[in-house]
Point group: C2
């Protein structure tokens, strides 16, 4: 794509964003329904295109191929996910706060769309549909940049989504795509006006590149070096269940636990039980600096005995990435200190770190999980895809 073609994408997105901001909920929901119907109607084409990608991905890991693969059930799931977004409340136009200026003028702070959102993602065709649906519902234009591994799947899904938009008489350019090359992406994000926010979904190298190069603000680039700390007073059954669940239930995701910290008082009785339970699930336990600093995203876990709650807090402050941290304890004072002093998007007492998720938090679909400190921290839902505007109504007031 030439520089001018990239400019054309951002100019069209910008133009459409202005239009979308004024589209009401019913019209957006109608377009989402058309998109869901188009996915169902064109399931055959979608599966054929996907089969080409899957065939070409023969050399990739089983996990990558699995995420890439669509089946009839998964295609039905894509349509269902779009209908789930229809059911979510539209954040646009909702009042965050009503107040009066100090001179008595009535004012309100409203939610309005962010504008243009660039979504950068891996070889997961479902993201093409999910991201488009969430951006549309929140009144944003989106530019999708998927993986070359999913090129055929993404192309047909983009066509389906744009067809649904056109059928509902909304501008097809509400959803556009960038080519898959790294160079194109780097060029696009070098222009601070090209989009209002970039949301990377997965892919540590890509996130790092965006954090270094993007002049568009980057949201939700979460890395998760998450911990489960088993306190002196921990209930043994809870500790084992939580440590195993946090590591094993889905080891490849950002809210999976990466290091187990155990209070030294429990080194003799509980640590062996924890180790045995984790090893029985196939987890390899590793000790030392390198392990503590690593986000394995795999069936490996760091382990460390700490002399105290303070030792755990120090460890987490040093190695944690501010994502999700859990304490297992029966001591209220320890729970209170842990939740107050650990600096993370989500802190759990006697529960698994795996709960940090838009669905679990009742937000419906999420577009990612943020460890940013600005704008949104934790699961990023529809509301987080908006900004605000103050509207003040006077009767000729001027400032003295």
């Amino acid at each position: 794509m030439s520089v001018s073609a990239l400019d054309t994408v951002s100019a069209a997105a910008r133009r459409v964003a202005r239009e979308l901001a004024a589209v009401d909920t019913a019209a957006k929901d109608a377009a989402l329904e058309r998109i869901a119907e188009a996915i169902e109607a064109r399931a055959g084409e979608i599966l054929e295109a996907n089969a080409l990608d899957v065939a070409a991905a023969a050399g990739e890991t089983a996990a990558i191929v699995d995420r890439l693969t669509l089946t009839p059930e998964r295609v039905a799931g894509l349509a269902a996910a779009v209908r789930d977004v229809i059911a979510l409340p539209d954040p646009v136009g909702t009042t965050v706060r009503r107040f009066e200026l100090t001179n008595g003028m009535p004012a309100h702070k409203l939610r309005v769309p962010l504008g243009v959102i660039l979504i950068v993602y891996e070889a997961r065709p479902n993201v093409t549909v999910d991201a488009a649906a969430l951006c549309l519902k929140s009144g944003n234009a989106c530019v999708l940049r998927g993986s070359s591994l999913a090129t055929n799947s993404n192309a047909i899904l983009l066509d389906v989504v744009r067809g649904g938009l056109a059928a509902a008489e909304l501008p097809a350019d509400a959803v556009q795509a960038l080519p898959e090359s790294r160079a194109e992406l780097e060029r696009f994000v070098a222009d601070p006006e090209a989009a209002d926010v970039v949301i990377p979904r997965g892919g540590e190298a890509l996130k790092k590149m965006l954090l270094e190069r993007s002049r568009i603000p980057v949201l939700a680039a979460a890395g998760g070096n998450c911990h489960v700390y088993v306190d002196a007073s921990a209930d043994a059954d809870r500790a084992v269940a939580i440590a195993v669940n946090a590591k094993v239930q889905r080891p490849g995701v950002c809210n999976a636990a990466e290091t187990l910290l155990v209070h030294s008082d429990r080194e003799d009785d509980l640590l062996p039980q924890l180790v045995a339970a984790l090893e029985a699930e196939g987890v390899e336990l590793l000790d030392g600096e390198d392990a503590w600093a690593t986000e394995f995203l795999d069936m490996k876990m760091g382990v460390r005995v700490v002399p105290s709650l303070d030792g755990a807090l120090e460890h987490i402050a040093r190695y944690g990435t501010g994502h999700s941290e859990a304490i297992v304890t029966e001591d209220e004072a320890a729970a209170e200190r842990f939740t107050r002093e650990v600096d993370a998007a989500a802190v759990y007492v006697n529960a698994s770190t795996r709960f940090t998720d838009g669905g679990e938090y009742g937000m419906g679909a999420e577009i990612g999980i943020s460890t940013n400190r600005l704008h949104a921290r934790g699961p990023v839902g529809l509301e987080d895809l908006t900004t605000t505007k103050y509207v003040v109504v006077g009767q000729g007031q001027i400032r003295e």
Copy 2:
């Protein structure tokens, strides 16, 4: 300052930030009171240091010298501003939302400090005190980078503030300073870990540099190309009062109006009145592309006759910077379209753009005005100097 000295500043700020996050409101307010008392007790020293800066600034514009100059009354004002911050509610620890996860676990979303805030500002010694007070109240460590024109004033005020912190047994490193050179600032902001956010206050060139070079997120870098649009149905007296106030009341600030748009229906009756009133105040009116694109911050104003409300909306979409926009109209439908379709931090109906201000909005002191779309848009108050943390309390729950 050597690279390692810059690293020492950020390391100390980071360490202190963790400490400050756990300091309660009473202790922060006590420190603020000590700072206010220290300003009063050391007023003579402050005025002496300021006199050196003022003498050295002999070649600068009257406006710069005025902003730089402290008088006994202004020093008293610095102490009063600190006491105003004591009176503001502490946002830290307040609950944004209580909810249950879908599995029933109780959760809440709490406000916590952002962490380390870098404030970059011009030759206004009051910002040294205001910024330190707002950051302290919101539990953040701050790093101040003032102008070399105010070097003596800032040095004594930093010493006074740090003395107040120490007297209250809080860490003096809660407030630190960077040297004034541009190179040092560029080095500091090149490290994404050096601070959590940079807030530039004033200085377009500096803002531009930060937006280009900073790897720390930049908040509140507002430029204000603000408009007053006089609609076909405008009340003439209101239109004149608002246009004059928006331009003249304080022309050098970001919420001052820079272009007057007038509906062509009012070209013959109202435009001449508007021009006469503005010219009587000494405003020079300018026509054409260059004028419309310029943020004068001076007694100059662009002017344009537009054929319709749509013409005004197009003009604002093209030239506006998303800060503050006003319509003068007696037509509710026009007001409704203007407030819905103009994309700006603040939109006014029949009121001056000059109201976009933390004080006028009842937030108390503000640390700047943001035209960012992420995190905070409009006046940036104490709440905007926080992020959030989810705390979830379970009884051994794991994710299925």
